[in-house]
Subunit: 220 residues, 3 copies
């Protein structure tokens, strides 16, 4: 059993805590956050330690780290923290839920987290520091760049290339064979069918409100 420190105390950190705490390979021993947050941060009953001084209590020789930070700054925040952690000598942990359907040839690399209900087909390459949320799907032969974030039920078809740092929202779709540039944001429910430039943003139009309210529906 290896000692693990979680960076962060937000949503992903809470979910990552549950997952790692339930995994007999890991002993989650602390939560670490940056100085401005150290007073207010709380993650279950873990001690909260200062990121800037982590080595003093939780040295890299004896602790791995998981950066449990979301997609803020188009995943830049999480990426930079991973880089700093590596620079300070910390091994970065990863987690793949036993309830995910992960092809046996797919490598889960550092600081990657695959939630239950995700599907990753054979011949897929996942970069480092990739978050694959519940029910997201990556079909065969696709390549997901470093630091990407796939929200719940994101659907990535076969032979897709996602550049680094991309965000794909809930129930968004990327058609087969498409190459998505780095730093793209594909919002909830968006449908991407053609190659995209880097930094592109796709925001699906929300379904408009109907004139009639639900009390007048005959068909329901």
């Amino acid at each position: 059993m290896k000692r693990l420190v979680l960076f962060g105390a937000g949503e992903l950190a809470r979910l990552a805590y549950l997952a790692f705490a339930d995994d007999e390979r890991w002993d989650v021993v602390a939560c670490t956050v940056s100085a401005p947050f150290v007073r207010e941060a709380a993650l279950f009953d873990l001690p909260v330690v200062l990121w800037e001084e982590l080595e003093s209590t939780h040295p890299a020789a004896e602790h791995a780290l998981f950066v449990a930070v979301g997609y803020r700054g188009v995943n830049r925040h999480r990426r930079e923290l991973c880089e700093r952690a590596r620079g300070r000598g910390y091994e970065l942990a990863s987690f793949a839920s036993p309830h995910a359907l992960l092809a046996s040839d797919v490598e889960v690399r550092e600081n990657t987290f695959v939630f239950g209900g995700a599907v990753i087909e054979p011949f897929v390459q996942l970069g480092r520091n990739v978050i694959v949320w519940s029910g997201a799907l990556v079909a065969h032969d696709s390549r997901i760049g470093d630091n990407c974030f796939l929200a719940p039920r994101a659907a990535i078809a076969g032979n897709v290339t996602l550049g680094e740092n991309c965000f794909v929202g809930i129930n968004a779709t990327v058609r087969d064979g498409v190459t998505v540039g780095a730093n793209c944001v594909i919002g909830a429910g968006a449908v991407v069918k053609h190659d995209t430039p880097p930094g592109a943003v796709y925001s699906a139009q929300a379904t408009p409100l109907s004139a009639r309210d639900s009390s007048g529906l005959d068909t329901l």
Copy 2:
């Protein structure tokens, strides 16, 4: 093994029958329907008994009930039946498929049915009398009001609040953080990205028919 009576003889009743009959905790002993339907109703080989007189043959002391009725009247019909059943002293059963991915902290309350392939993340609150169909997903920290109906593959992001009695259609999407008012209807494939008033209806535009038929497609 507890005796169970199913209210209804329609689609949900047939599926509920299969599920409860396969669950060793339950012994499904009868189907009950209201007087106008009692002659034509049939549910596998169960005896069909009159709802208005259920106590005479299947008293509440010895039988639980599951109201296996769909979303008619924006779930009002199912809700009212649950209320009447409670008023008559019947315990309301619930079912969560062993093939659903249900976080261990999520409570499944009375007359709730979670189909196989559904995903419910941690920190979710499900109300009473909620139907979560196959492949529907409710992400972390969301609250699903009483009497809601999530159709197959409905996608509810994190931190969503669904008011009471809502219907969310097949492959519809509700973005993270959105509050949906009571009695809303979010149709098949609709995308809701902002808070909604109560009783709102969202009907996705159907994809238009292409001018060219499939025999002329080069790309397929």
Copy 3:
């Protein structure tokens, strides 16, 4: 253990190989392709044999066949190959992943392949030569015609009829009760809510590129 020959050496053939090779009922012994492709075809370490002369090395009496060909020609190519294989006396194999959620009453017929993560509810009729890709869903009481192809996460609601040879793309939606004519193509992310003529094509509009690039997003 029965001997199996795979027709094809493309994407589906590679995935089918992994599946059948992992299934103790089958011994995958060869890959077969038509004359124009026999020189360049390769499928793992299988011998590649000429389709036109398959009987000479792999007779029908001792070998089953799986036609691992995609949706080209609106599934016509795969259909015609199945017909020829039958005419030459070959039994056509099928596969349903143990990681699919397949109702126990659903019959998986010849040359049908159900990937992991697919959900097929009770009372569904699947035709012959149907491909149900990862995460695709077919709800209760629907009928899927011969030779249909459901891409990853295709969502078919209840009481739908899909005519023969249809293609349903990734994350496309067919609403409950709809009848889809034969030879239809429902593209990635499309939403079909009404009955369709045969040969109809539905192509969802791609989400337009936003004016602002991702570096200017406040909300991410």
